[in-house]
C-alpha cells in the first residue's frame, strides 16, 4: 500500500504495508539511516523522531498512523535553531562515545527544549529517561542540554 508522508518538509511516497513501523520505512524504503534501530519495542529511544514536533519512537509508529502529521528526523535537525544549538553543544562537550544512540538523544532533547526552554534538572531526567545510552554518557548529555537551555535563557533576558 502506498502512503504519502511529509518528512523533513518534503512529500515522500512510501509503498509498504501500513503496519510497517516508520523506522523501517525511513531506513530501508527511503534510505534515511540517521534514525537508529535499538530495541524495536519503544524502550530505548534510539529511533526517536519528531511527529508534529513531539518526540515519538519511530519503531512503534505504524505508517498507517501518521496521516497528515509531519515527520522530522535527525537529518533535518540542523534546520531548527534549538536543534543546531544542541548539535553544537554535543560537539563542544564531546558528549558521545560510540554515538549510536545520539540521534535519538538529540531528537528527544530538542523536543524537550522546544516544549520547555528552561527545564529543571528533574525535568531533563524525566524527558530523557526514555533514551538509553549504553556507553552511559548521561552526565554529558545532561550538561549539554542544560548549557543550551541556559544560553536560551540568557538570550531571552537580553
Amino acid at each position: 500500500m502506498a502512503f504519502t508522508v511529509t518528512i523533513n518538509e518534503e512529500t515522500r511516497e512510501i509503498d509498504a504495508p501500513g503496519d510497517m513501523p516508520l523506522l523501517w520505512a525511513l531506513r530501508q524504503e527511503l534510505g534515511m539511516v540517521g534514525t537508529k534501530f535499538g530495541c524495536g519495542i519503544g524502550m530505548c529511544g534510539a529511533c526517536t523522531v519528531h511527529l508534529d514536533g513531539q518526540a515519538v519512537r519511530s519503531c512503534s509508529l505504524p505508517l498507517s498512523a501518521i496521516g497528515d502529521k509531519k515527520v522530522s528526523t535527525i537529518e533535518h535537525l540542523a534546520q531548527s535553531e534549538v536543534g543546531q544549538a544542541l548539535q553544537q553543544a554535543w560537539l563542544d562537550d564531546d558528549v558521545m562515545q560510540c554515538g549510536y544512540c545520539q540521534a535519538g538523544q538529540l531528537m528527544s532533547a530538542t523536543a524537550l527544549l522546544n516544549n520547555n526552554a528552561t527545564p529543571s534538572d528533574d525535568e531533563i531526567d524525566a524527558a530523557m529517561q526514555g533514551n538509553i545510552c549504553r556507553c552511559a554518557c548521561y552526565k554529558r548529555i545532561k550538561t549539554a542540554i542544560a548549557q543550551v537551555s541556559r544560553n536560551e535563557e540568557d538570550t531571552a533576558n537580553v
Binding site: 510497517m20 560537539l91 564531546d94 560510540c98
Partner: protein, 736 residues
C-alpha cells in the same frame, strides 16, 4: 627507545616510500612512490599510516576498530604528535582489515593504547625524519640544522621554511630511517597528546550521517533475519520454509546448517526480504522444530544449587593456587571469617544490534562490511568457513555502536557469509533483533565463591581460602570464567588455598568489559571489607597493610609489549588520592554513607569511593562517585579518557543494581530492555575523576575504571545499613 618492540618485530618499517611508518604519497604521486620501491609482488608487506597531499592535508590511518572507546581519534593523535602535524589539517581514515599492513587490529582488553603507543610514535617520527631529510636535500643543508613546527620544516638560522605538502613528494624518495635512529619528542614538548580533542566522527554522528555498520547501503541490497533456537546447543529438525516464503516482501528463505560452534555458525533458517522488518516478521511463519538435546533442562537456578552442593561437599576438583599452609593458618587463627559470594550471567547489549553486510562477488571474493572488534579473526573465520584463501575475503571495518566485548565474537559474520554465499552477486545485510541479541550472546560467566580468611590475635589477615565454582569452557586460551591465582589479594597472602570446581554448560560465554575483573573485584573487595570490619579497621587500611613491604614486580614482555608488574606504590597513590578527594573518614550527610573499592586491571590502577543513601522505598541512590586512576604518564585525549571513566562507573553501577541474565529450560529468560534494565539518566551520580600520573607508558581506559565501583557501592551499603551484599544484582529486600 627501550620500549620499542612491536615495530621491529613486525617489520613495520620496511624500506620503501610506502613503508610502515613512512608515507604513501598522495594520489597525485603514485609513480614516484612506486618507483622508489613499492614491491608490487608483495604489497602485503607494506604498511602506510601517513599520507601527505600537496595541499598540506595529512591523512592518518586509524588502524583499530572504533567502538566508542575513542581509538580512531587517539591513535592518530599519537602519530600526528611525532609527525609534528598541524592537527587542523589532519584527516583520519579507517583502515581496512589487513594484518600484514597494519599489524594487529583489535578493540579489546584495553590493549590498543599500550600496544600502539610506541609504534604510532615511531610511525610519526619516521615520516617527520623523511620530511626533514627532503628539506635538507632541497636546501643543501645538514638535516641536523633543521627542525619542525606544526606542518612545516624550518631552518631557524635562515628563517626559511617549507610546508609538509611542499616536501611530500621529495620526502617519499628519502630512505626510511632505521627505527633505532629516530629521535622521539620530549614529552614536555607534546602539542597534540594531552589536548582534549572531540571524537573525529562526532560531527557526522550529530547530523545522522551513515557511519555505523548498520548504515551500510549497497545497490540492490536485501535484508536477512536469522531464526535459531533460543535453547543453546539445539539443532534444527524442520521448519515451514514455504510458509515463510509466502509472507509479504519475502524474497527467499532457506535452512542453514551450522557446525555446532556458536562462535561460528549454529543451525538456523535465513529469511530474506526487501525490508528487514518484513523478513523478521516472516520468522513467525517458520514454526521450526528443534532438537534441544541434553541442554534444555539447564537453568541458572540449577547451576546455583549445584554450586552450593559442590561448595558444601568441600571436596574440590582442582587446586589452582597454593602457598604456605592455609590449614595451619586457620587452625591457629584468633578469628575466622567466611562468606559466600556470587554473581550472575550478564549480556553485553551494545546499542547497535549485531549486524553485518556481505557480498559474494562474481569474482569469487567475499566482501564484507563488519562491525567487529576483531575483524582479523572474523576474516579468518569466514575464510575457513567458505573454504576461501584469506586474500579472497575483504573486510571493511565500520564504526560500531558499542562493543563491550560482544563483538570480539564474530558469529554474525559467519552467519551472513553463509547466507550471502547462497546469493552470489546480491549484497545481504543481516540484522539481529534485540531479542536475538539478548538471548544469543556470549555471556559474562556467573560464578560462586566461598571465601575463608584467617585473622591472628593481632588482627592481621594471615591467609585466604576460596572455593570457586565456575564453568568449564574447554581449551579456550582466554577464559573469562576463571580466576587467576595472582588476583589481588591472593597474590600477596602468606597462606593461600584456591580451589575450583567446573560445571558443564552449553551457554556461550565471553568477555564483557573488564572480563574476570568485573566480577572478581566485587567478590574480593567486598570480602576484604568484611575482614576489615572484623579487625576494626577500614578497607583502605587493610589494603595498605597487605601491601606493606611489597616490592614492585619487574616489567615483563606481555601481549601488548613491555608490561610493568604489580606496583604497590601505584595502588597507594590512587588510594590516598581518592581518600583525599572523598574526605574519607570525615562525617558524611545524614542518611548517607561511603564505601571504598580498589582494583588493578588492564594495567590501570583505580580506587573509587561511592556515596549512597536509600530512598523511603529502599531504592539505592548513588549520589557521588570519586575516582582516582593511574594509567601512566600521559592522558592522550582527556575528553575521551574522562568519558570512558564516567561511562564505566555508570555501567558498573547498573550491573550492581539491576542486571542479570537468567536461564530457564536451556534458554535465556530476558529478551529486551524491558527486562534487561540498563542504567538511565536519572541514575547518574556526580562523578569526580582525577588522574594520578606515574612514570609508565600510557595504557588503556576502556575497562579498568569499572571493576572497583561495584564493591565500593556494596561496601557503602554495608556502611549505611550493616547489611552485606554478597550476591548481584543487589536485592534491596536485604535492607528491610
Amino acid at each position: 627507545m627501550s620500549e620499542a618492540t612491536t615495530l621491529s618485530r613486525r617489520t613495520l618499517l620496511k624500506v620503501s616510500a610506502l613503508a610502515g611508518g613512512g608515507f604513501a604519497l598522495s594520489a597525485t604521486m603514485p609513480m614516484v612512490a612506486r618507483a622508489v620501491g613499492a614491491d608490487a609482488a608483495a604489497p602485503a608487506e607494506l604498511t602506510a599510516f601517513v599520507t601527505i597531499a600537496p595541499d598540506n592535508t595529512v591523512t592518518i590511518i586509524g588502524k583499530n576498530p572504533e567502538i566508542g572507546q575513542g581509538i580512531k581519534t587517539s591513535l592518530p593523535m599519537i602519530v600526528a604528535e611525532e609527525l609534528d602535524a598541524d592537527w587542523d589539517l589532519v584527516k583520519i581514515e579507517m583502515a581496512d582489515t589487513n594484518m600484514a599492513k597494519y599489524g594487529p587490529q583489535l578493540a579489546g582488553g584495553s590493549f590498543s593504547t599500550p600496544m600502539n603507543w610506541m609504534p604510532m610514535r615511531q610511525t610519526g617520527a619516521t615520516a617527520r625524519a623523511m620530511l626533514i631529510a627532503a628539506a635538507a636535500q632541497q636546501w643543501g643543508v645538514p638535516a641536523a640544522s633543521l627542525s619542525t613546527e606544526p606542518g612545516k620544516v624550518v631552518e631557524k638560522a635562515s628563517g626559511r621554511s617549507a610546508t609538509y605538502g611542499e616536501l611530500a613528494s621529495l620526502a617519499a624518495t628519502m630512505p626510511v630511517p632505521d627505527p633505532e635512529s629516530l629521535v622521539l619528542k620530549d614529552q614536555d614538548d607534546f602539542r597534540i597528546i594531552g589536548r582534549a580533542i572531540g571524537g573525529i566522527d562526532s560531527p557526522k554522528i550529530v547530523r545522522g550521517e551513515p557511519i555505523f555498520g548498520l548504515d551500510t547501503q549497497l545497490p540492490g541490497m536485501v535484508y536477512a533475519a536469522y531464526e535459531r533456537s533460543p535453547v543453546f546447543g539445539a539443532t534444527l529438525v524442520s521448519a515451514d520454509i514455504d510458509a515463510a516464503k509466502a509472507q509479504p516482501g519475502v524474497i527467499d528463505a532457506f535452512t542453514v546448517k551450522g557446525n555446532g560452534n556458536p562462535e561460528e555458525l549454529v543451525d538456523g533458517v535465513a529469511v530474506i526480504a526487501s525490508n528487514w522488518w518484513l523478513a523478521n516478521r516472516a520468522r513467525s511463519a517458520l514454526k521450526p522444530e528443534w532438537d534441544n538435546g541434553e541442554w534444555a533442562s539447564h537453568s541458572t537456578a540449577g547451576y546455583a544449587a549445584k554450586a552450593k552442593e559442590l561448595m558444601d561437599g568441600g571436596q574440590s576438583a582442582q587446586t589452582f593456587g597454593e602457598r604456605g599452609d592455609m590449614a595451619a593458618a586457620l587452625a591457629s587463627a584468633a578469628k575466622v571469617v567466611t562468606a559466600d559470594y556470587s554473581y550472575p550471567f550478564l549480556a553485553h547489549v551494545p546499542m547497535e544490534p549485531m549486524n553485518c553486510t556481505a557480498l559474494m562477488r562474481e569474482d569469487g571474493v567475499m566482501e564484507m562490511w563488519a562491525p567487529s572488534q576483531t575483524p582479523q579473526g572474523g576474516l579468518a573465520s569466514v575464510a575457513t568457513y567458505l573454504g576461501l584463501p584469506p586474500e579472497k575475503v575483504i573486510v571493511h571495518i565500520t564504526r560500531m555502536g558499542g562493543g563491550f566485548g560482544r563483538r570480539l565474537n564474530n558469529d554474525y559474520m559467519v552467519q551472513v557469509a553463509a547466507i550471502a554465499k547462497e546469493m552470489p552477486g546480491t549484497p545481504v545485510q543481516l540484522i539481529w533483533s534485540r531479542e536475538d541479541d539478548v538471548r544469543t550472546d556470549f555471556y559474562r560467566p556467573a560464578g560462586w565463591h566461598r571465601f575463608t580468611a584467617s585473622i591472628d590475635a593481632d588482627g592481621k589477615m594471615t591467609g585466604l581460602k576460596d572455593h570457586f565454582v565456575t564453568f568449564d569452557l574447554g581449551e579456550s586460551p582466554f577464559n573469562p570464567a576463571l580466576m587467576a591465582p595472582d588476583t589481588f589479594p591472593a597474590k600477596l597472602m602468606d597462606n593461600l588455598l584456591l580451589q575450583q570446581d567446573m560445571m558443564r554448560t552449553a551457554i556461550p560465554m565471553g568477555a564483557l568489559r573488564a572480563p574476570n575483573s568485573n566480577a572478581l573485584a566485587f567478590v574480593t573487595q567486598s570480602f576484604l571489607d568484611e575482614v576489615a570490619q572484623e579487625t576494626g579497621k577500614d578497607l583502605p587500611t587493610l589494603i595498605m597493610e597487605i601491601v606493606e613491604g611489597v616490592e614492585p614486580e619487574p616489567t615483563t614482555m606481555g601481549f601488548t609489549g613491555p608490561t610493568p608488574g604489580f606496583n604497590p606504590n601505584r595502588l597507594r597513590a590512587v588510594t590516598e588520592k581518592v581518600m583525599d578527594m572523598a574526605n574519607w573518614g570525615q562525617p558524611v550527610a545524614d542518611g548517607r554513607a561511603l564505601g571504598f573499592g580498589y582494583y588493578w586491571s588492564h594495567q590501570g590502577y583505580f580506587a573509587e569511593v561511592v556515596e549512597v543513601s536509600l530512598s523511603d522505598s529502599k531504592q539505592v541512590q548513588v549520589h557521588n562517585v570519586w575516582c582516582a586512576g593511574d594509567v601512566g604518564n600521559q592522558i592522550i585525549n582527556p575528553f575521551g579518557a574522562l568519558n570512558q571513566v564516567e561511562g564505566a562507573i555508570i555501567d558498573g553501577i547498573g550491573q550492581a543494581l539491576q542486571l542479570a541474565v537468567e536461564v530457564e529450560n536451556g534458554a535465556v529468560k530476558q529478551s529486551n530492555f524491558h527486562n534487561y534494565l540498563l542504567p538511565r539518566m536519572p541514575m547518574t551520580p556526580q562523578i569526580h575523576v582525577e588522574w594520578v600520573k606515574s612514570d609508565n607508558s600510557p595504557t588503556g581506559l576502556g575497562e579498568p575504571a569499572l571493576p572497583p565501583v561495584i564493591p565500593a557501592l556494596t561496601n557503602a551499603l554495608f556502611a549505611l545499613t550493616g547489611k552485606r551484599v554478597r550476591s548481584l544484582p543487589i536485592d534491596t529486600s536485604l535492607f528491610g
